[in-house]
Amino acid sequence: MENKIEFKDILLPRDTHFGIVKFMTRSWSPKKTLNLDKEYLPQDIKDLVLKSTYLDSILDAECVRNGVSKHQLRKEVVNYVEEIAMDKRMHVIRWMGVFFLKVSFMMKIGIFVNEPAVLKLKETMGENPVLFLPTHRSYADFCLMTYLCYHYDIELPAVAAGMDFYTMAVVGQMMRETGAFYMRRTLAGAPLYSATLRHYVRTLVGHYGAPVEFFLEGTRSRSNKSLSPKYGMLAMTLLPYFAREVDDITIVPVNISYDRVMEQSLFAYEHLGVPKPKETTGGLIKALHTLNDNFGDIYINLGSPMSIKEYLGHPELSAETLKPRDLQKLTDEQMTHVQKLADHVVTLQQDCTVVTITNLLCIVLMDSLYRNKVLCLQEVESQIGWLIKVLRSLGANVFERDVKSGIERVLTVHRSMMRLDKEKRLRLVSSALMNMTNDVQRKMKGHILKAETMVNAVPIIQVQLYINPVLHYCVPSALVYLIASRGNILKAELYTEYTLFRKLLKHEFFHLEGIEEANFNKALEYCVHNGVLSSSGDVLANRSGDKLHNRSGDELHFLLQWAVIPALTTLFACAEVMRECKKCEHKRALKRVQEITELRKCHPYCLSLDAISNCLQGLVHAEALLKYKVKNDMIYEVVPAVMDRCHHLISSIIPKLRLVFDDSNPVIVHQKQRARL
């Protein structure tokens, strides 16, 4: 497996006298994704949309449906187009660039890019539309690809942005002028709007010479893990391919990994149910001064471009070709292809994960928390060295220039979360006691947690957030390991149980069900090969009792045990709660799980509303729960037989290991200030 990646910091060259201004005022003639006979400007795209047969027909149909005049409806559509459409203003781009670089230097970040991939991609551009599909972990994602394109002289991408930016004074408009286009979150019940959006996106992809960028996951993943993709946007962008307006579309999966996600503490609170403040320009300006800090490095890893023509094969003939091309929609079959493709792209994004020192350090820290044992710097270093080997053997890309300086950097970046004490031992810093005002309590989404719970829950969740993006490498092995550790088991049986767990955790750990058999075999082989499981014939067993095992084996046993504890514990709590109440609405289930988790002092990540929801969905997916809607409430109902089996199975493999996170754990240091959101 090729784990060595060449990354280059694209901010470094700007760090000179006048570097920023010089760079942002240079003449700039970017490479385009499409070389059509006519070059379409943003305004042309709008005109094409407004003049389209599609919208004309939709308008005709709508006026008959609701009796409003076509003229009136057309006005509505014009407004929608104005709301949606992107623009390009060179002077705004330059000013924004200056601002971006200034802030970047203030944040002391580095932006590491696997340059060869970018250059290769650029080389092949010009033939057909390109889609950038980055992971979405932070608002910062919005600027990164744009800056990268500016840096490499690639036409700035048209980026799909949510309405929260649109409503931000000035910022919304400036983002638009650097290529953002806006889309509303829900299209249901607004047929005219969704038709306009659909046609705008389609026209943009088919005619505009810039990459089109959007986040498949639809929202920032609060957990730092991949989310199940949303299909709508991908379907819209691929329509020109299915309608043969373009010969091919290149999809570029992109993974953006952060040493420190700006929003980490917000996210941690959100997991616990403390609501996020609304994005406003004022808020952004206020937040600006908090950016005067160390945010470490960002890694932009472009995956190999993928030709959808190659992936899907030439689109087959459908009844849709009998319509005017403008009116062509995806057939059900094509929609299925799009969904599969979207799922696949998410795994490609996962494959592009760059494991950073932050991830490694957090794993080491969590490990030491589980062991109730403080590690000194040397031990930390050697642990990290060991982890790199483990992760690489599991297929991860680990980017490490120099572990020692890396640790130093990360400790500065994350000094409010972990630090070296006087004896140079790695410690977790608990957060300050939060002032649980009535106002905060009223706004809490779930169970009202105690301030004391949050003191440790917040930092531990934050640490977990940096472990999460690496987990997909270990989850299959961890599950195989845990199931086999319960006692001797036949391979076939192991596989059945394994798939059940994968199902139950499908939403917690995104994966493709189609390739699970291969994943299982790989995981099993890994466990056997690394000596944590023994296999004789078709029977597998845990080898921890073996005399043969060495230190490394022991570490691995431990890692595989705790890797899925938060997920399994949450799942177990969900199963218990549902068994106890039989039938219950979503919100109540969330509260109840949080409540018992808090009561039992389970792993704080089990308090995460996100994780609880995922586990409930998993139980639905495994058919242990029925899910239906009554009015506006989502209701779960237990399917007793299946639920009992799941409950039993989960409890049978949950490791006995417990994370102690009160004062008795020597790894935690306490701090005595008030917390600020």
């Binding site: 047969t53 027909s57 939709i58 005709d60 149909a61 003939l317 849709e320 005017p324 403008d326």
Partner: protein, 619 residues
Amino acid sequence: MTENVALLRTTTEPVPRKKNLSEKNIKKSPYDTAIKVKSAIPRKRQDLLKWYGWGYKDSMFKLKDQVATFTGTRYLIGGKSLPHFVQWVREKFDVDISKPPKIPPTPTVYPESRLPKEVREELEKVTLVSVDGMDRLIRAHGQTLNDMTHLRNNSFQRVPDAVIWPESHEQVQQIVNCATKYKFVLIPFGGGTSVSGSITCPAHETRPIVALDTSDMNSILWLDREQLLARVQAGIVGQDLEREMRARGFTVGHEPDSYEFSTLGGWVATRASGMKKNTYGNIEDLIVQTKVVTPKGVIEKSCCVPRMSCGPDWEHIVMGSEGCLGVVTEVTLKIRPLPSIVRYGSLVFPDWESGFHFEREVARQRLQPSSIRLMDNEQFRFGHALKMETSWGGVLLDGLKKLYITKIKGFDPLKLCVVTLLMEGNLEQVTERETQLNNIAARFGGIPGGAKNGEIGYTLTFVIAYIRDLALEYNIVAESFETSVPWERTLTLCRNTKRRVITECRKRNVTHYLISCRLTQTYDAGCCIYFYFGFNSAGCADALRTYEEIEEAARDEIIACGGSISHHHGVGKLRKKWYTQTVSETGRRLLFAAKQALDPDNIFALANMELDRGLVSKL
């Protein structure tokens, strides 16, 4: 031309409608641009239309105190009295109009529905079903004299056992599957304007018969202003289609004289021809793609192209299939922008022959305007009989004009013929065309007869159909028939056919009759001749039989003279006799093969053309 007032649907929407259909099924329509058209014709047709005759209930000829009037306000002559009419009728047919008209009583008993309950329930899962007697009776027939006679006597051997109203292609598929499963017969019913007996229930069918009324399939699925195409569901009624298109600045331009009531699917199934075919084409020229549900699956071509070379064109198997192979559900049609100017015109010729040579010359030079028709003297005088009391102004043979034509030009009023013209385009085009036509007319002794005469001629087209009801009420049986004929044989065909009809009448002691013809369409290779024939049947034992014998003789004559079995009415059941000789025995076998391939169980057992022969229903 009077625009028909769009009437709101008068039927109450049935409540339990399609409750079995899941939401999903409805959402799945592949057209989010569909426009459901509010039809001028309600689902309960009998609320608006005569059950026993032609057209709207409120529109009919009436004779009162020796004066004829036309009721209602839908047509130009509506509400007007027609002072010359009675005299004309008397002279021509010798009828005693003092007798009260024979208006048939509304039937009180209807044949029992033979549709088994389980089948009905099965159908109700898909669509609205009615077994109401009147609903069934009015869908048992078309508009032939034969149909009318049986209708007025309530003597049909078979009427549909149920009527259904599917709304979409998908529902038609489900229905056809259901028919295959439960072995019942389906008759696609469009507007019921068929004049070939094609829609008439096959008299000897023993299986249950379900009339599949297409009128609820009348959405415009999409319209492309750029490509000038529209996809329309096949049940749309002509006037609805045209009204909707015009509201959007377009026209299909397909206007058969029945277009107020006939449907797109009916046009396709009968290979209809519209008045303005010179500009817009006949139905086969207008269609770009059709979708048809047959018991063996859907037949359609996979692309929407102007022309292709790919073996025989199966769309032509569908066109003219007269409902026997399946149901046309969706059609992609050409549309045209509305012309800026529509101008009528007329030309007067001393006799039929000079008028004919004029028409021939116009066709040779391909200078036909949207419509060009030549009426014979008989028809010209009939038109005169329909003159309204209030002057139409400039009517032919009035005042000075009459003087000019008969005295100065020396035209014989009992011989002269009139050509009516309908021209469309922009001002320049129309003016130029008019000049060209006038110049050609002059070469054949024709003189301009004014725009008003032309307009009246076209307006009357739509009211003429109402006369038959009046005629029947006074024992006059009448019908029209038409043919397609090469130019060189036209004159002899017209002469011989008229002669033959006269001879046949005499043979049967029919003394008062009308036989008249007009030349309604022109092509490079020939033209369409349209005959009207009617007679006073007071002395006949079986008026229908007498009529049919004479028409049969006339058709034999037509065919002997080199004319065809039909130009646009189709074969149906009335003209089976000449089907095989027209297409050859081999051709007939090909038709059977198509039937075998698409409908082996004879679900669509309409028994048109020769499809009754040798096909035994499998039940």
